[in-house]
Symmetry: C2
């Protein structure tokens, strides 16, 4: 009777139980005793119970609670050391997280800071990419800046994972601040730029060449989809809200709204973007409607149970042993990853009207790399472009930036006042004085 399917489900349900307990215990310890963000506790809890540490230890002769499919996989491409079912639940959780973040975003602010976000995103992709490629040449790993291995190291350093920042901003109730809106808008653009970089790098690494037309097509497809989804959603949002409110059966409007977020997420992925970008856009479109408020409470229950799963699973991806032997190079790369994002995002932020605090917050918000960095590194590893120790470097960089972001974001938001410059002191270069003026009036 105990089929493979039943066994997988039983394991998943047991894993979710352990993950939730660990998430809440670690979160409680971090919030109450260490006075640190709970999400940090969830991430570290994930590292500890993950397949690379405790989770890999056999339990009462039943086998490990978190067996790593990596060992049984014949391909090096399996860069995610957890079961497909658990990974799927974690991804669904990330979709719910970004849908909530979208719902809580101020749409007017989003458009107001759109220009700033473009600059922040471009800076935050370009500088880390260049620094990554350069250090790879500097350490003698790559022969030139356009060597595939140099491009891969650059690409690994670019991908922002906005989930952690969205969670911290949500916990601090700062999603609707100029910094919060800029970070989330920049994360959307960052994702579009990220897939372009990836298209080029993976194309060069695997196929040997890539044409400008190919890159252009990918760009048009991704940007076109995102604009259609977001603007279409905004235009239809009132009708959607009325339609959902008219449903009578219990929980129908909640389920329908979640369905829209899920549908948009799947479409976004099909168009080359990340799942979470689609969910965020739907949340953003619905954020101005009257249904947004009705949704927040019942979504809360879903959020509180699902979202910790995402962060614990993120922690589980970390293999501390993979960092051995690459400590020196890893530390340098990690440092560049940090400097690259803080300077690459912070400097444009300064130019468009944020003050030092605001620019630092934006830079820190763009800091965390998540499983995208690991997936890119996994592609590089499986296609033979980067070595196992470079993969270890990617793991180390992901761990440090992911843990550092919530650790630094909280004090960065608590210390210092508003993040935008006062009237008179503000000299906005990119968006002109008028843009700077608008920015200041509403901060």
């Amino acid at each position: 009777m105990e089929s493979e399917l039943t066994h997988a489900v039983t394991l998943l349900v047991g894993q979710l139980a352990v993950i939730l307990v660990v998430a809440k215990l670690c979160g409680e310890v971090f919030e109450r005793y260490l006075r640190q963000p709970g999400v940090l506790g969830e991430l570290i809890g994930g590292v500890i119970i993950g397949p690379h540490l405790l989770g890999g230890v056999p339990l009462f002769g039943l086998g490990p609670l978190f067996p790593s499919p990596l060992e049984s996989s014949s391909q090096g491409a399996a860069s995610i050391p957890i079961s497909p079912e658990l990974y799927a639940v974690a991804q669904v959780a990330a979709v719910v997280l970004l849908f909530m973040a979208g719902l809580e975003t101020d749409l007017q602010q989003f458009f107001r800071y759109g220009g700033a976000a473009v600059l922040v995103a471009v800076g935050g992709v370009a500088l880390p990419f260049f620094l990554g490629a350069a250090i790879s040449v500097g350490f003698g790993i790559s022969s030139s800046l356009i060597d595939p291995s140099a491009l891969f190291v650059g690409a690994i350093l670019t991908a922002t994972s906005v989930g952690i920042t969205a969670r911290v901003l949500g916990d601090l109730r700062r999603l609707a601040t100029p910094e919060g809106v800029t970070i989330l808008a920049a994360a959307v653009i960052d994702d579009v730029l990220g897939i372009l970089v990836m298209t080029v790098v993976v194309g060069l690494g695997v196929g040997g060449s890539v044409t400008a037309t190919e890159v252009g097509l990918v760009a048009v497809k991704a940007i076109g989809f995102w604009l259609t989804l977001t603007l279409g959603g905004i235009l239809l949002s009132r009708r959607i809200s009325d339609l959902l409110s008219s449903l009578r059966s219990d929980g129908a409007s909640l389920a329908m709204a979640v369905a829209m977020a899920f549908g948009a997420a799947a479409l976004a992925q099909a168009f080359g973007l990340a799942l979470i970008i689609g969910a965020y856009s739907v949340g953003l479109a619905l954020s101005t409607t009257k249904i947004a408020e009705d949704l927040e409470r019942p979504l809360g229950g879903l959020y509180q149970v699902l979202v910790p799963v995402f962060f614990v699973v993120m922690g589980m991806l970390v293999d501390l042993r993979a960092m051995q032997g690459v400590l020196a190079f890893g530390l340098v790369v990690t440092l560049l990853a940090i400097v690259g994002k803080i300077a690459g995002c912070g400097l444009p932020a300064l130019l468009v009207g944020f003050n030092g605090y605001g620019a630092l917050r934006v830079g820190l918000g763009m800091l965390p790399r998540g499983e995208v960095a690991l997936i890119v590194a996994g592609v590089g590893l499986s296609s033979g472009v980067i070595t196992g120790s470079l993969f270890g470097v990617a793991v180390m960089m992901t761990l440090v930036t992911t843990l550092l972001a919530p650790l630094l974001l909280v004090p960065a938001f608590r210390l210092g006042g508003e993040g935008t410059r006062r009237p008179g002191a503000g000299q906005t270069i990119a968006s002109g004085p008028a843009g700077g003026h608008r920015l200041m009036q509403n901060s």
Copy 2:
């Protein structure tokens, strides 16, 4: 970049979107226009969009939305025609459903009707089992009542799937009635009896023999686990409630309670019981605590999004084509499956103090067979004990009983008054006059 894992996640998220929309649209149509339970709409929606009908049709050259892994599977054992990820989400939904049902059960009532439930469960297993085996002999499929194929048909007819009933009772707010409590308690015992029947039948069908000691061990393990979990949970429930209330971080008590339900579910499965039995027991234990009320609201959000997934997926398991060619035999078996449960559960219910309405409600509540019947049939098919057409019969019986239960339960609860006999008229045989008296005082 589009790995197999990413593709599976994208497909899952897209499937969940379609499932939720279909669930709510069909539920709305059934409730508002057909004045039928919404769950029936979800089930039929599942049949329509399932891999055997629309879901199997390729979409815009992207392949089908619900590709059936049955066709790519080399083994006949894969009796579930949906992806492991989607099946896992549906099972998690069932766990949440039964946890909620447990929380809403009246614990005192549960113990009061424990004796009645044992009789109802025994009758509801014994009669369908006998009828199934007998008809298999009657139609010349099996040579005798103890022929493995006869035993398999009997076993397929026994397994109650209480999810549908729990949902209907919850929608009608009848979970705490004598009938509601008896049905849920009987479902627990039914599950224990079910695994015993399965152990014997599968042992005979696959291995050729099974000893009384083996059956005894399975029984002791399952019953021992359930008693320990339920009584332990009840004894510790106040401490657990206090502990959960003392957690400060957002949503911690909800996540911890869900974690307990998931943990108990996984353990129940490991001890040979169904996942949902473990979740129900935890809900039951917590039902008397003060945290139960605090949990109901946030759990509502989780329930409204997850539970429809379970019912749509249940509908998806149905392959209407599998019923062709076995219509006559299938109709007879289905009729016996219905009569077997209504008489097998209803007669004992009459004996212990229920009136005709109450006994009918109990019998109808035990009617639906779910994926357990399909799994048993799948084991029989893959081990060669039953034929493909007998599998089709199992599918037909499951579909009809599953659709019939909500269709009949709602009027059965609406027509007629209380389900227990008035004082004076009550002659309880099994639990004696005193037991009957207690039953009536509180109804």
